[in-house]
């Protein structure tokens, strides 16, 4: 069974990381590891947009992670973009090994002015499961109760469910 590797990149909340690992461990029988990938992502920062280009980060990380046999999710606090869109929560290789997730826009304080750590954890779990789902070949699901439903805004992250639907879960290796 493939392991899951979480690689923090410019990610500074150890409490969130530990809680995420705890939650993923409940959901997966795969082993969850935290790995340190030495990559300076400043090269992928756009001065115009004040965001980081996620596709380029993934491309660079691919060169550094041959030794890890499993799925690698990069976790970051910085805001991400792809050229066509104003922002993205995350990006994943469909049926691939790598994905990246930004928690930048998952913080409730940026929307309501009120911090909510539990909500941040819930959103982070959802988006982590979502990106991992893409790695396992899943596309967006039409079931709003499924974590693979598309979420193009924070509202949709909150609406959708926190587990895979029965159809999607069969494709995710090691999901209990």
């Amino acid at each position: 069974m493939m392991d899951i590797f979480i690689a923090p990149l410019k990610f500074y909340s150890n409490v969130l990381l530990q809680n995420l690992i705890k939650e993923l461990s409940k959901r997966f029988s795969s082993s969850i590891h935290v790995v340190d990938i030495r990559l300076n992502i400043d090269n992928f920062f756009s001065i115009d947009r004040k965001q980081y280009f996620s596709t380029q980060i993934i491309a660079e990380v691919m060169k550094l992670t041959d030794q890890y046999n499993g799925k690698i999710i990069l976790l970051t606090d910085v805001d991400l973009f792809v050229p066509a869109l104003t922002f993205i929560f995350g990006e994943a290789q469909l049926n691939g090994k790598h994905s990246i997730l930004s928690v930048c826009r998952l913080h409730e304080i940026f929307y309501s002015g009120i911090s909510n750590e539990n909500l941040l954890l819930e959103r982070t779990i959802k988006e982590t499961l979502h990106e991992l789902g893409h790695n396992y070949g899943l596309r967006h699901c039409i079931d709003w109760d499924c974590v693979m439903h598309a979420s193009h805004g924070i509202e949709e992250v909150d609406i959708k469910g926190i587990t895979y639907c029965n159809k999607c879960r069969t494709k995710v290796e090691g999901y209990k």
Binding site: P83, F87, L94, F110, S112, H140, H152, I154, E155, E156
Partner: protein, 450 residues
């Protein structure tokens, strides 16, 4: 529903093509790309695309030229133009020339998603000539809407008949009866099932946050609002908004609510843009709205606006036949979730459950089974595993106290204690008048415990 629509992305910038490509692939579309207008035309000649996303500014053939040429081949082609902010006036010209819409680059993902979805839905409706897919006659139920009693079957019938309309529905019933499940059943059996059902617990909303919560806010609308947020009504676009505990909203918010339900238009807090949202309204209450209207606490116009089609869910004690089915359902649910092998319940424990009055209804039963599963040691649930208050409230019949009068005494005493010896409330629950209740209290020599 698997999307099979084909999208052609036409943009001279490779990284833009690629980012759109991956984004639409994840969203279940079949995606093709072209680096210029000529290539796009050649591809379009070979196969049809449901939607084209075309950059305005490309070397050689411009996006506008491509629009004209495609429209000459297929006047129904859906083309969305991508433009830089500075060329918005040109894009407006393009709309007059038949473009479906335009977006400015970089595109807000939410805006793009809605735009593409709306365009393709309109196209599908046109092609199918609004064929209503009524092939599924059997109602789809949410997993835990359980029951075979005639009362619950009647509810299935009502859900079935109302779900395919856009009628406003009011669901009434005691707390814990499953009003939200019935709302969900209506939604998932309606044509709106691919959009979300948004639940608003009106009783839990702080008045100060209500406006922002319901209508959303713009970036910078107040301190800390660094990002725009859509409100519940906007999130329900295309779907259903479920307003639970509708009786608890303030008169001020009732005015706002009535206006939005009638116009389906509103502004986000701090915004000037008029937002339109197409939602269906389902409300729920366990209060008597009629009494609230009489007391001046609920607007009569709003009451009539939401009270169009009513579904009343009976309390669990009035459909006891469903208890074994519900118990089995919860046993299976929790045994899987807790990885426990408890799949049975003893006859004595089931008798307890069948005879208990369930003031908290199905929710209380679910909690009772969950608790029993946690503490249960054997492969079946016994009376000892049931929550203390369930067992205590059960009308135990020790020794020879099995006469009707001893049952009545015990039951009246229980209701009196539960209501804190509130005579009016007890009489109401027992459905007897206050004088009769006083007579019974005297007859059985019942006394309030100090």
């Amino acid at each position: 529903m698997d999307k099979k629509e084909k999208i052609l992305i036409v943009d001279d910038e490779k990284i833009v093509r690629e980012s759109f490509y991956h984004w639409f692939i994840e969203d279940n579309y079949i995606v093709d790309t072209a680096e210029d207008g000529e290539t796009a035309l050649n591809k379009y000649a070979k196969e049809k695309y449901d939607l084209l996303l075309v950059d305005m500014k490309m070397p050689g053939m411009s996006g506008l030229d491509l629009l004209s040429k495609i429209k000459a081949i297929d006047k129904d082609a859906i083309i969305i133009l991508i433009t830089a902010f500075s060329s918005v006036p040109t894009a407006i010209t393009a709309l007059k020339n038949g473009a479906y819409d335009y977006v400015t680059k970089p595109v807000d993902p939410d805006e793009l998603s809605h735009l593409v979805k709306r365009a393709l839905e309109q196209r599908a409706l046109k092609i199918e000539n609004i064929q209503l897919k009524e092939s599924i006659d059997e109602i789809i139920k949410p997993d835990n809407l359980i029951g075979e009693s005639f009362q619950i079957k009647k509810i299935y019938e009502l859900v079935h008949s109302v779900s395919r309309t856009d009628t406003t529905v009011m669901i009434r019933g005691e707390s814990g009866t499953g009003k939200e499940l019935v709302a969900k059943a209506i939604h998932i059996n309606s044509g709106r099932k691919y959009s979300p059902i948004i639940t608003v617990n009106c009783g839990a909303l702080a008045e100060s946050l209500l406006e922002s919560e319901l209508f959303g806010h713009e970036k910078g609308a107040f301190t800390g609002a660094q990002f725009r947020r859509k409100g519940k009504f906007e999130m329900a676009d295309g779907g259903t908004i479920f307003l639970d505990e509708i009786g608890s909203i303030s008169l001020r918010m009732q005015i706002e609510l009535l206006r939005v339900i009638e116009t389906k238009q509103f502004n986000r807090v701090g915004g000037n843009e008029l937002i339109k949202s197409d939602f269906r309204v389902i409300t729920a209450t366990n209060e008597s709205l009629e009494d609230l209207v009489k007391a001046g606490k609920f607007r009569e116009d709003l009451y009539y606006r939401i009270n169009v089609f009513t579904i009343v869910i009976p309390p669990l004690r009035e459909r006891r036949d469903d208890i074994p089915l519900l118990v089995n359902f919860f046993l299976n649910k929790f045994s899987s979730a807790m990885n426990k092998k408890i799949k049975k319940i003893s006859k004595e424990a089931m008798d307890f459950l069948m005879n208990y009055d369930w003031p908290g209804n199905v929710r209380e039963l679910e909690n009772a089974i969950e608790r029993a599963m946690v503490v249960g040691k054997s492969d079946s649930i016994t009376v000892d595993d049931l929550p203390f208050h369930v067992s205590r409230n059960y009308l135990e019949l020790p020794g020879d106290e099995k006469s009707l009068s001893s049952m009545e005494k015990k039951y009246i005493n229980r209701i009196l204690n539960e209501s804190g010896w509130n005579i009016s409330k007890t009489a109401q629950i027992l459905e007897i008048d206050r004088v009769t209740l006083y007579n019974k209290i005297n007859k059985y020599d019942l006394r309030k415990l100090e």
